[in-house]
C-alpha cells in the first residue's frame, strides 16, 4: 500500500503502517508521536483533495 | 429563480409523521414558502422528487389528494439508502420537494363511472390520491360507486388503516374489501392474495374503471383476472414505478421503449401498456 502510494506521488512518510500489539502501549505512543511529527513536517496533503464547495 | 430551474427543489418542513406499518411511514410536508402551493398544483397520481440534502433524491408518489390544501403527504417504504434516512426524520426537519412530475390518473374520463381500486402493499399510496379526490365532497357527485380492494402480507403491513377501516367505509356508496396473504390470529377478515379475492368478488365490468397498483407480480395476475372478467383494455388503468432521477425526461433511465415513465407515465391504461415493450 505504502509503495503504491509513493508510486503515484505521495511523499514517503505520508503513510505509515505499524504492527502494534494491544499490550505495547509505549509503542503506540511513540508511533503516534513519530507519525504526527513526520506528517506535520510534510505540510498539508495536496493529493486527492476534494476541493469542491 | 426557483421556477426557472426544474432541478432545484423547494424547501419543505415535515409537519407530521404517521407510522403506517413496520416499514412504511407517511410524512406530511408543508412548503416553507407557501406561495409554492399556488404553482405546484399536483393532480392525482403524480409523483415528486424528495431530497434529503447531502444524501440525495428519490421519486415518491404523492399520496394526498389535491383537494386537501396546504400540505402534501408521501408514504415511504424503507427500501434503500435515502428512504432509510428519511425514516429517521421527525417533524420540524426539512427536506426538498420538486415536481409534480408525470401524467395523472384520467379522472376526467372516469366521470360518471363506477370505480374499482385494486391495491397491494405500498401500491395503495398513489391510489389514495385519487380515492380521496373522488370522495371529496366537491367531486363525489361526479362519480358512481367506489369500491376499494386492498391487500397486504399481514395485518401489520396494511397501510392507511384509518382510511381503510374508518374514513372510507363511512363515505356514501363506498365499499372497502381488505385481505391479507396468510391467516393470522385475531384477524377475522378475508385471507388470500388480491387477484384471488378479485375473482371471488367478480365485479361486473359494466360502466366501471379499475385502477390498480402494487408489486409487479400482483399487477400481472390482476390484469389477467380483469381480462378474464371481461374488462376492456381501456377500462384498466395502472401506475408504474421505475427508477427515476431527473423526473423531467432527460436522465434517460426510466424509459420503456420510446416513452419516459416520468413524463409520459406513470399512469397507463392497459391498452397503452400493451403497446410498450415488456421492460418494467
Amino acid at each position: 500500500m505504502k509503495r503504491l502510494f509513493e508510486f503515484i506521488g505521495f511523499e514517503p512518510g505520508r503513510f505509515h503502517a505499524r504492527w502494534i500489539s494491544g499490550s505495547e502501549a509505549q509503542k503506540v505512543v511513540e508511533t503516534a508521536r513519530k507519525v504526527t511529527e513526520e506528517v506535520r513536517a510534510l505540510g498539508p496533503n495536496k493529493k486527492m483533495r476534494d476541493d469542491r464547495c | 429563480m426557483a421556477l426557472e430551474n426544474p432541478l432545484l427543489p423547494h424547501i419543505a418542513t415535515i409537519t407530521k409523521v404517521i407510522d403506517e406499518t413496520p416499514d412504511v411511514k407517511t410524512f406530511q410536508m408543508v412548503f416553507d414558502d407557501p406561495g409554492v402551493f399556488d404553482v405546484f398544483k399536483q393532480k392525482p397520481g403524480q409523483v415528486a422528487q424528495i431530497s434529503i440534502f447531502g444524501v440525495g433524491e428519490a421519486t415518491i408518489s404523492i399520496t394526498s389528494s389535491p383537494t386537501r390544501k396546504g400540505m402534501l403527504e408521501f408514504s415511504i417504504k424503507k427500501v434503500g439508502r435515502l428512504t432509510s434516512v428519511i425514516h429517521q426524520m421527525e417533524p420540524g426537519m426539512k427536506v426538498g420537494i420538486r415536481g409534480p412530475y408525470g401524467n395523472h390518473f384520467p379522472y376526467e374520463m372516469m366521470k360518471g363511472k363506477d370505480l374499482l381500486f385494486i391495491g397491494g402493499g405500498i401500491g395503495l399510496a398513489p391510489l389514495r390520491s385519487l380515492i380521496d379526490f373522488v370522495l371529496a365532497p366537491e367531486n363525489r357527485q361526479d362519480y358512481g360507486k367506489v369500491e376499494i380492494l386492498y391487500g397486504a402480507r399481514s395485518s401489520a403491513d396494511l397501510c392507511f388503516k384509518y382510511d381503510l377501516f374508518d374514513n372510507w367505509p363511512r363515505q356514501p356508496d363506498t365499499k372497502v374489501y381488505v385481505t391479507i396473504d396468510r391467516p393470522e390470529e385475531g384477524w377475522d377478515g378475508h385471507v388470500g392474495f388480491v387477484p384471488a379475492y378479485l375473482e371471488e368478488l367478480n365485479p361486473n365490468p359494466q360502466n366501471k374503471v379499475t385502477i390498480t397498483c402494487g408489486p409487479p407480480i400482483m399487477i400481472k395476475f390482476v390484469l389477467q383476472a380483469l381480462e378474464k372478467m371481461g374488462y376492456s383494455e381501456d377500462q384498466v388503468v395502472t401506475t408504474l414505478e421505475l427508477k427515476m432521477k431527473c423526473g423531467i425526461g432527460k436522465c434517460g433511465r426510466c424509459n420503456i421503449g420510446s416513452k419516459f415513465v416520468c413524463v409520459d407515465g406513470p399512469v397507463f391504461t392497459l391498452r397503452e401498456l400493451k403497446k410498450l415493450p415488456p421492460e418494467f
Partner: protein, 317 residues
C-alpha cells in the same frame, strides 16, 4: 494452419458434445481487429478465425455463465491462460467447466503501431508468417512487416508464450524470448515525488469512469463490485481528480496479487491511461518482497497476498 486446427478441434468437440459452446475469435470490423465469437453449433464454426491481431483476452466471458452446469471451450494465448488459473483459484469458475484450447503465441501485433505504417481498413483475407516476417493479405492490399517492430509492448516481455494450462495445445511450445525487466515501472519509480505526482495526476484527470478496465479484467470477478455500491458510497460518481485517483488506487489494490498482467485494462482504456502500470508496479514489488511469480503463471502458487509464510518480510513491524 492454426485457423484450420482451431476449426477442426472445435468441430470435433461440438460434434462429440464435449463442450456446450466455444469462445473464440471472429473477424472484426477491419484487418487489425478481431471480435469475440460464441460458437454453439458445427454450422457456426466457420466464423472462427485466427489473426495476428487476436489480442482480446476471452477468459472473462465465462463469468456470464456462473452457476450453470456447462462446459465452455475457450481459446487462450499464453497470457490469457493465466486468467483461467486465476478464475479457477478464485473459485469463480471451476476448472472442470473449462475446456481450454491453448494457442502457443509468437506475439500479437499492435494494431495502433501497424496502422501507422500500413492501411488496415480492409478485411483480413489471410496472413502468413515466415521466420521474422508477417505478410498480411487484406482486401486493401498485401503488407509485409517485420514482426519484431510491431508487437504489443506486453509481448516483448512475455513470460508464458505457451499457455500454462490447457486441455489441448494447438501447436509446438514457444519459449519465452525475453524476460520481464519492468522497465516501464522503473522509469516511473525513478522520477522525483513531484514528477510522479504530476504524471499520475495527468493520467487520472483523463479518466472518464467508464469502468472498461474493471469489466475486462479477469481478476475483477466480485459478485458485487465496490464501485457499484450506493451504500456505503466508497467512491463518488463524480469524475474529478480526487475521485478518479481513489477509483484507480482501489481498483489496483483489489486486484493486487491476483492480476495476471494480461494488459487488457490498458488496452481497452479509451483515454490511454496506462492502467496496467499500477498493477505491474505491485507485481514487481511482490516479486521482490515475496519471491513469487506473476499470478496465474504457476497453478501451485496461491494468491500472493492471501498466503502467509513465516519468512515474509516485515517492513511494518
Amino acid at each position: 494452419m492454426l485457423k484450420e486446427k482451431i476449426k477442426s478441434t472445435v468441430t470435433e468437440l461440438l460434434e462429440n458434445k464435449r463442450i456446450d459452446f466455444v469462445i473464440g475469435y471472429g473477424a472484426g470490423s477491419d484487418a487489425g481487429t478481431v471480435r469475440p465469437a460464441f460458437v454453439k453449433s458445427v454450422e457456426e464454426v466457420e466464423q472462427l478465425i485466427w489473426s495476428p491481431f487476436a489480442v482480446n483476452n476471452l477468459a472473462k466471458f465465462v463469468m456470464d455463465h456462473l452457476y450453470e452446469n456447462i462446459k465452455i471451450g475457450v481459446i487462450v494465448k499464453g497470457c490469457d491462460s493465466r486468467s483461467v488459473i486465476r478464475l479457477v483459484q478464485d473459485k469463480v469458475f471451476p476448472r472442470e467447466n473449462f475446456y481450454v484450447i491453448g494457442v502457443p503465441c509468437k506475439g500479437i501485433l499492435d494494431k495502433n503501431k501497424v496502422a501507422k505504417d500500413f492501411d488496415l481498413s480492409g478485411d483480413l483475407v489471410d496472413f502468413t508468417e515466415q521466420g521474422d516476417e508477417v505478410i498480411l493479405k487484406t482486401s486493401k492490399g498485401e503488407f509485409k512487416l517485420r514482426k519484431e517492430d510491431y508487437l504489443l509492448d506486453k509481448c516483448y516481455r512475455c513470460e508464458t508464450p505457451t499457455p500454462v494450462v490447457y486441455d489441448v495445445l494447438l501447436g509446438e511450445e514457444v519459449a519465452p524470448f525475453r524476460t520481464d525487466d519492468y522497465e516501464d515501472v522503473k522509469a516511473i519509480e525513478n522520477l522525483s515525488v513531484e514528477e510522479k505526482s504530476r504524471y499520475w495526476d495527468k493520467q487520472f484527470e483523463k479518466c472518464i469512469r467508464c469502468y472498461a478496465c474493471r469489466n475486462v479484467c479477469s481478476a475483477c470477478n466480485c459478485r458485487d463490485c465496490v464501485f457499484d455500491m450506493a451504500e456505503p458510497n466508497w467512491v463518488g460518481k463524480a469524475a474529478n481528480l480526487s475521485e478518479n485517483t481513489a477509483f484507480h488506487l482501489i481498483r489496483a489494490w483489489h486486484v493486487a496479487g491476483r492480476c495476471v498482467d494480461c494488459g487488457e485494462c490498458s488496452r481497452v482504456c479509451p483515454m490511454g491511461i496506462p492502467v496496467n502500470t499500477l498493477n505491474r508496479k505491485m507485481i514487481k514489488d511482490m516479486k521482490e518482497l515475496f519471491a513469487v511469480e506473476t499470478p496465474g503463471k504457476n497453478p501451485e502458487q496461491g494468491p500472493v497476498l492471501g498466503t502467509f509464510r513465516t519468512d515474509d518480510p516485515e517492513e511494518f513491524m
